[in-house]
């Protein structure tokens, strides 16, 4: 079981409490698709992804960004059982969507950078450590059902 300090719990809830999920979801997914263009392989049916502006304006990217953030919200609300919370999602990503788990890490890094941009100086090293620990647990839980 993951051990969370009080600081980590407070920090994670505080960060997500302040995020606009629509804004950050789109920004993080857009950044991932631009910075790591091979991730576009999973979004063949999304239509226009040919440059950063097209990706940013694409309503399917925005919708999916929101789905991802709401998925993370489930983990925030179940910090003591992220593994169990994500069992089905892990099976989905492995067996149906067939996403290379390394991509979870790439999206996590992009989300960290977007949150850093939103929070500025408030995104201290300790806050970053707590946030990245949370994302690492999320990524690990999503990887669990890959066989």
């Amino acid at each position: 079981m993951v051990e969370w300090t009080d600081f980590e719990r407070e920090t994670i809830k505080s960060i997500f409490g302040k995020l606009d999920y629509d804004d950050v979801g789109l920004a993080a997914l857009c950044r991932c698709l631009v910075v790591y263009p091979w991730t576009q392989r999973y979004f063949g049916n999304f239509g226009k992804l040919y440059n950063a502006d097209a990706i940013n304006a694409n309503p399917m990217v925005a919708a999916h960004g929101k789905v991802v953030l709401n998925g993370l919200d489930k983990a925030v609300k179940n910090l003591d059982n992220i593994k169990g919370t994500y069992t089905e999602l892990s099976v989905l990503h492995s067996e149906k969507l067939r996403v290379d788990p390394d991509n979870f890490r790439l999206l996590a890094d992009c989300l960290t950078i977007v949150v850093a941009a939103r929070m500025g100086a408030d995104f201290t090293a300790e806050v970053q450590a707590a946030f990245q620990k949370f994302l690492a647990v999320v990524v690990s839980s999503l990887c669990r059902q890959y066989h």
Binding site: N56, T112, G120, A125
Partner: protein, 143 residues
């Protein structure tokens, strides 16, 4: 994943804004790396004080960042330019090259926090590629 003309232009442009804050950014990036990825502290056992903002950490952040700043002027000859440093890292420091990616990530986080409006996805892509090229050049002599 070599640098296109567009990448070089993006890096040059954003570095004009990074340079005035270069020392702070370098210090922050190194401090963050040591806090968020504690395994990196293993390379600094010879530092008396590894807490964020400590004089040794600040100084070392400056050293690294100054060199990265210089690399902006050497994007066309990065590998020859960094040849000596590559020897140093390969034979004396022997830092696992995976750590170059870790430091790069923390540098990107700090730049995003300092320059949120300038650090667009396209600029992020170019800077990420630039840092990756530096990492490759540094690892060139490893084996």
């Amino acid at each position: 994943m070599s640098l296109s003309a567009n990448d070089k232009a993006n890096v040059t442009a954003i570095w004009k804004k990074i340079l005035p804050k270069s020392d702070d950014i370098g210090d922050q990036a190194l401090s963050r790396m040591l806090t968020v990825y504690p395994q990196t502290k293993t390379y600094f056992a010879h530092f008396a004080d590894l807490s964020p903002g400590s004089p040794q950490v600040r100084k070392h952040g400056d050293v690294i960042m100054n060199k990265i700043d210089d690399c902006v002027n050497h994007m066309d000859d990065l590998f020859p330019y960094l040849s000596g440093l590559s020897d140093l890292h390969a034979t004396k420091l022997r830092i696992d090259p995976a750590n170059f990616k870790i430091l790069a990530h923390n540098l990107l986080v700090v730049v995003a926090a300092y320059l949120p409006n300038d650090f667009t996805p396209e600029v992020h892509l170019s800077v990420d590629k630039f840092l990756q090229q530096i990492a490759l050049a540094l690892a060139e002599k490893y084996r």
